[in-house]
């Protein structure tokens, strides 16, 4: 893990998710389960994935999300794609 970039990415990701689903950003933490915390279904997850890809300018293949449950995990996937 790139210790210098992931915390910033996590913060931006939490802000993005909070804004999209109307949650106070302070209520979200990097280790939270994304689906449980946001209360979203699979199509809403796709919507968030599109926003993540557009915001960060990366592609995150769906299959890489398999088993990734937390905001921190998604941030790490994005970090790998940013290079």
């Amino acid at each position: 893990m790139n210790a210098s970039s992931s915390p910033d990415l996590e913060t931006r990701l939490l802000t993005l998710a909070a804004a999209r689903f109307g949650k106070p950003v302070a209520s979200l933490a990097p280790g939270d389960d994304v689906f449980e915390k946001l209360g979203i279904d699979s199509i809403q997850a796709m919507e968030m994935l599109t926003e993540i890809e557009t915001t960060f300018g990366v592609e995150v293949p769906d299959y890489e999300l398999q088993g990734v449950t937390t905001f921190a995990g998604i941030a790490e996937l994005v970090r790998r794609r940013l290079g």
Binding site: L49, E59, L65
Partner: protein
């Protein structure tokens, strides 16, 4: 605006020189215009209207009024329930599926080859059969929320509504293999980069921009436009027929029933993820 047809799953109306088709299937258990028997019947009515002259329309526009997207594909719940019912009656399931595929291929081929210029206005989910419906159109306009996917291999199947031959024709087989073999979805920006989407627009603007495309296409001589389309967009007939054969051969596998059962009984919030 005149509305020659208002159905349970879709409606169509004349807006200037364009015939606008709006998908609006919203029933319990159907979240985004899933294509089943009723949708097919109403698409068949649309194709009959086109064959009768389309009320003088020069262009055809497809859009969805369902917020979640254009279309999430085939009605898998109905497919599974039909499979179980036929098995309970001692009937082989493939025959009825083949008949359904023959009908939907006839409809999609008619949409693909209609002399009218066809434009898809896309947003949100454009998955499976919904992606395949969009691929019958000449020009795809997508807003930034659109996402494209062929999830069929997760069910032990290949796409069955003609999507593979059409995507290969329009974009290329490397893209087909990427999407088909991984089941991954593409965002609209990437879809534009590979040439699938002609115009990428802000969220909620796809219909507006698609109308402009349709109006522009209608300015040219109708016979010339029809000749240009017949020349530039050949139907990959042989490949389409092989697709139906492949789908039906796979459909007989117990893998499919198990996958469909898992899909319709799942309470997991993530059934669309691989």
């Amino acid at each position: 605006m005149t509305a020659p047809f208002v159905g349970e799953t879709l409606s169509y109306a004349h807006v200037g020189t364009t015939l606008e088709v709006t998908l609006h299937r919203s029933v319990p258990g159907a979240s985004c215009n899933e294509i089943g028997e009723q949708t097919l019947r109403e698409l068949e009515a649309l194709v009959a209207y086109l064959a009768a002259g389309a009320g003088g329309a020069r262009a055809l526009l497809f859009a969805s009024s369902v917020p979640r997207g254009f279309c999430a594909g085939a009605d898998l719940r109905a497919l599974y329930e039909g499979m179980v019912a036929r098995r309970g009656a001692g009937a082989p399931p493939v025959g009825e599926v083949r008949a359904f595929l023959d009908r939907i291929h006839a409809v999609f081929d008619a949409l693909d080859t209609t002399p009218l210029t066809t434009v898809a206005a896309l947003h949100g989910v454009v998955f499976g059969g919904g992606f395949e419906l969009a691929l019958t159109c000449d020009v795809l306009v997508a807003d930034k929320t659109a996402r494209f996917c062929f999830p069929e291999l997760r069910l032990g199947l290949v796409p069955g509504f003609g999507g593979i031959p059409r995507l290969a024709r329009d974009v290329g087989n490397a893209v087909v293999r990427d999407l088909l073999f991984t089941g991954r979805s593409l965002n609209a920006q990437r879809a534009q980069q590979i040439g699938l989407v002609s115009q990428l627009v802000a969220p909620g603007e796809a219909v507006h921009v698609a109308r402009k495309v349709a109006e522009q296409a209608a300015r040219f001589d109708a016979a010339t436009s029809a000749a240009a389309k017949a020349f530039a967009k050949p139907l990959p007939s042989e490949w389409l027929n092989r697709e139906k054969d492949t789908f039906c051969a796979l459909f007989a596998s117990p893998v499919v029933e198990a996958a469909l059962h898992k899909f319709v009984t799942s309470t997991d919030a993530r059934p669309y993820l691989p």
